[in-house]
Amino acid sequence: MRGHRAGVKTGIMPNLLEVKNLKKYYPVERGVFKETAGYVKALDGVSFTIGEKETLGLVGESGCGKTTCGRLVANLLKPTSGEVLFDEEDIFDLRGKQLKSFRKNAQIVFQDPYSSLNPRQKIFNIVAEPIKIHGLYPAKEIKNRVEELLKLVGLSPELAKGYPHQLSGGQRQRIGLARALALNPRLIVADEPISSLDISIQAQIINLMLDLQDKYSLSYLFISHDLGIVKHVAHRVAVMYLGKIVELADTDTLYAKPLHPYTKMLLDSVPKIKTKVTPPTVEKPATETLAGRQNEGCAFYSRCPRSISRCKEMDPLLEPKGEKHYACCWNPE
């Protein structure tokens, strides 16, 4: 388990990435003239940091804005407001050479290995393209570098001649990793990198990612809905609910002592092997979605078993509740 080292490592490390009050609203347009009828708040004021060589796990149910957050951090979308500082520079202000240098340093690995590789490109070209774009190696050495990268992710260099459709899901995900590693990045946004793979392959990819982290001092933003895996890879964990971070803490702390009722609910829902069968906790059904969310009060109010009257009136803020332990709740556990 990685969690043990978390307390020692974080805090000392300088921040590689700092996300400040990041918001992404999608306008909902109605009618012929496309009046804006409202906004879907995919990301509503998210802040966190990632240190050098650190893995931050970002968990939450589907549709809570995790993927949007990952794509903003990789500068693939423009935010409605807020900043993402990489090496203390706002990535959304970068142009030309500086933007290219950011792209070299921050890479992304996608959820669906069947959609993340161009079906009309050969594997060799997929892995070689970033090297060519950034001119990292002279033309003669590109072939060697591609073979080296394929070996690094545990694939046979022979595969370079083929097309993505000839590979299995796990092999494709390794190609996705090789493409990201081709630029020697410092940060990799891993957007549910294993959720579409078989269990046995999941472990291989995770272990590969951990090895690569040690070898190349990588930082990960590890997005997942699988709490078990996040516990294994992350130093710190942020829990998202409807576009907001509701709890953020060191991995060990969060799993041992969750403060936010939503985090607790998530942890309780992880299947465990039990000796004694206990009745499951009664969960209120989700009535709110990102699209239909009301503005006042806590977003989690309607599902929360610990709600008090204040929760309906005022939205809580993410505040420190313990040492390096932040929660966004009026009535934490």
Binding site: L76, L99, A106, F110, N118, E129, P130, I133, A180
Partner: protein, 271 residues
Amino acid sequence: MWQRFSSNKLALSGMVVIAFLVIIAIFAPRVVTHDPTEQNIADYLQGPSAKHYLGTDDLGRDVFSRIVYGTRISLSVGFIAVGIAVFIGVFLGAFAGFYGGWIDSLIMRFVDIMFCFPTFFLILMIIAVLGPNIYNVMAVIGLTSWPGIARLVRGEILSVKEREFVYAAKAIGASDLRIIFRHILPNALAPVLVTATLGIADAILVESGLSFLGLGVQPPMASWGNILTTGKDYIEHAWWLTLFPGLAILITILSYNLVGEGIREVIDPKQ
């Protein structure tokens, strides 16, 4: 892909016919039995015979040789006109779909305006102004038939550009042009192939129509359309003048349509 296409017997026979026509067009001078423009008044309006396989016209010219040379006109008009249309349509559609916003609105409203004109009358008018010759016909057909392709390409681009490999290309620092031409377009062009194939058939029909009206290929140069024009004056006594160029048009259009439908079936993901 090819296996599925070739298992469709109709599409395959269409392709064989087109290949055959292309060969005839290329080797026209060797295929013909007479000079297509040579007049022989003594032999005028003769029916099909061993000397004139498909008869002669009112000036005693060999209809078989004229139809063979007409193949060159029809095929080249089809290819070049559709080539122009695909080039313009793919470019404008790709930029509209990729950039969205006001670029998209501008291009697509222009497409809408183009769709408002009855194309054939627009072509007639332009040809009447520019003067009838084969190059004007190719250019004008090409310049009026791109909007459908632009609309199609835009739609394809909109669906492909949200796929993750396009985000991946952006993340590795690929330029917009590289993303459009290397990553998006190769995955969006299959339906264009279908439209282009069907478009060749349309272009050939339009050219025949224009030549029939005297606004396309000018005599003495032979085209299927202008053989038909002569034919209509003698349709009561010289049926071969109408039947054979008409059949040539029919078979060619049918072949292109069969091939187009065949490709459509192959690339249809629902099958």
